[in-house]
């Protein structure tokens, strides 16, 4: 009798769990489909090409071009990678290969903690410290609200992701490789550069790609430091580096700044912005995924 009721319960629970799994997965797919559906009018009325290549975004005149935001997102991400990756890799190599265990025991939790700090705190720091600091650079019409400020904030934000994943990848390299290299007379550094890093390559690249994904997706911290101007970033004077001092707007910022005030086609165009962002991150994540898989084999 008890056995029978246990069987019955077994079957009931399985049904409940299946329903939960189904619901969860349904939610996952609803999100994608719903946003796509909301964006469709924008794609059909504005045209995919015009939307992606348009250089102007003036919703009041029904001009919707996402190119400034796409470039804005890419530039801040690039800036973050250039600044963040060397730092993160250095930190990962230090923790995995060089530093004594006692030091690593301090650095690792610190870096992990950095990863958990809410982005709005970084935004606050950027707004109160970085923007006024950058404003001191003597270039005409430099307001401090800039790609540079955004990139620095992002670099700090992606540092933990890249450091942690790279460190894991480096640690995963078999000790035999190191021993063999050292046995051949290589110095420790030569071993790291010539053997360990190449062996951990795909994991390291995956960590960078994950960092890119995080950088592209950041919203609030960007709104706080980048100025949100809808322009294609340009150098402020003859020095091409001053492009870093240009204001910009990111794809994420475009959504957050305007969604509350939007109506009609503008709303649809903002959903289209979401779709572009969605596709971009899926692309990047599947790249990371493929790289991690490759490493596993």
């Amino acid at each position: 009798m008890a056995y029978k009721s246990a069987r019955l319960m077994d079957r009931g629970v399985k049904g409940i769990l299946l329903a939960a799994a189904f619901l969860a997965v349904a939610i996952v797919f609803t999100i994608g489909l719903f946003i796509l559906r909301q964006a469709l009018p924008a794609f059909s009325q504005i045209g995919v090409f015009r939307l992606l290549s348009g250089t102007e975004w003036r919703p009041s005149q029904s001009i919707f071009g996402l190119l400034p935001m796409i470039l804005g997102s890419l530039l801040v991400t690039l800036g973050a990678i250039v600044m963040g990756v060397p730092l993160a890799l250095g930190c990962a190599i230090l923790m995995a290969e060089i530093a004594p265990r006692s030091i690593t025991a301090v650095i690792r939790p610190a870096v992990q903690l950095l990863g958990g700090i809410p982005s709005v705190v970084f935004g606050l720091f950027g707004m109160r410290v970085l923007v006024p600091l950058i404003r001191q650079i003597p270039v005409p019409s430099n307001t401090g609200f800039s790609i540079l400020a955004a990139s620095i904030v992002l670099a700090v934000m992606i540092l933990p992701t890249i450091t942690t994943v790279s460190e894991d990848a480096i640690r995963a390299v078999s000790g035999d490789y190191r021993d063999a290299s050292l046995a051949l007379g290589a110095t420790k550094w030569q071993t790291i550069v010539g053997v360990v890093l190449p062996a951990a390559r795909s994991g390291i690249v995956a960590s960078v790609v994950l960092g890119i994904g995080r950088a592209l997706g950041e919203t609030m911290a960007m709104i706080m430091v980048i100025g949100n101007s809808v322009i294609i970033p340009q150098p402020l004077n003859d020095n091409p580096l001053t492009i870093l001092l240009s204001q910009a707007r990111t794809l994420t910022g475009n959504i957050a700044v305007e969604i509350g005030y939007s109506s009609g086609l503008q709303t649809n165009a903002l959903y289209a912005t979401g779709v572009v962002l969605f596709l971009l991150t899926i692309l990047i994540n599947s790249l990371a995924h493929a790289l991690v898989k490759e490493r596993a084999i």
Partner: protein, 303 residues
């Protein structure tokens, strides 16, 4: 040992759900509920409570509604609703921001009983909506404290915002580039400013720093040297400098006399005629008590 930790999650979950399912009940038992009563009382302008309470008490209005929309109307609406709720204990008004676009949308689709807009409705928006203008508001041009210019003409303002004038020296200031700060597209304040200052052809320069609320504009101008922007008069404080336009100082007197040129309506809108508690609130807001608060808050009364 293992079993006990598993039961722990169970208990946590049950607790979570118990608290989660009764959000309406929880606040009253929470210790922080007390300050809410006291704040409402203190927040209500002293002028309102004594005069309104006796007249409102007999009606004993009850009801619950939401007003959503323009951040320009939001501070005034919050003060009005707090005063009204203090006098009518049975009424509960929730004020939400979002912007004029949200105001129109939420009134149309019923998300909120009242929409708040800080601009005229467009012809496409008008059908089915009733407009109750409770106050008028001057849109003022503000600059950072370090800017030595004190006044501009409307034409100069237009040229600065459209990017024709890019240096303060062109309008009598020092040789410093102008940093234009503006609201994002869709904002009621921006729409009103564009209608009244920029006209049909001129558009606000693309490299303007864009912020998505009145507060953020004030904040940005206060902290960015050589910057200029426009703002609802009700938001202005000592951290920025207000420019006179066409020689008229931006204050309530000039705005109500029509001497100051940039004035726009602040309105509640409802789908069809307002009824019940909503109507009572609007009547009160348009009556002497409400309009006194409007004037006290630095806006221009409509009556």
């Amino acid at each position: 040992m293992r079993r006990s930790s598993f039961w722990m999650i169970g208990i946590v979950l049950v607790l979570a759900l118990a608290v989660g399912c009764s959000p309406t009940a929880a606040p009253t038992t929470a210790p922080t509920a007390k300050p809410s009563a006291t704040t409402q009382a203190t927040a209500a302008p002293t002028a309102a409570s004594p005069t309104v309470a006796p007249t409102a008490a007999p009606t004993a209005m009850t009801g619950k509604f939401t007003a959503a929309g323009s951040t320009s109307l939001q501070p005034l609406a919050e003060t009005l609703s707090e005063a009204y709720m203090a006098a009518n204990m049975g009424v509960e008004i929730t004020i939400q921001g979002g912007g004029s676009g949200v105001g129109v949308k939420s009134a149309q689709d019923g998300t909120a009983e009242l929409g708040m807009v800080s601009r005229d409705l467009t012809d496409a928006e008008k059908p089915g909506l009733m407009v109750y203008t409770v106050a008028r508001d001057a849109v003022v041009v503000i600059v950072n404290q370090d800017v030595s210019v004190d006044g501009l003409t409307k034409a100069q303002v237009r040229d600065i915002f459209s990017g024709t004038i890019t240096n303060w020296s062109e309008v009598g200031g020092p040789d410093k580039p102008i940093t234009v700060v503006a609201r994002e597209e869709g904002s009621g304040t921006r729409t009103a400013f564009e209608d009244m200052v920029m006209g049909k052809e001129a558009v606000i320069v693309a490299n303007a720093i864009l912020q998505s609320s009145n507060g953020a504009i004030l904040n940005t101008v206060a902290s960015t040297p050589d910057s200029i922007s426009f703002l609802s008069l009700g938001y202005v404080d000592k951290t920025v400098k207000v420019l006179s336009i066409d020689g008229a100082e931006a204050n309530e007197v000039n705005a109500s006399s029509g001497k100051y040129p940039i004035v726009r309506p602040l309105s509640f809108i409802s789908k069809g005629d307002a009824t019940g508690a909503v109507k009572a609130f609007l009547d009160w807001a348009l009556g002497p008590d409400g309009q006194k608060i409007v004037a006290d808050q630095g806006y221009i009364p409509v009556k």
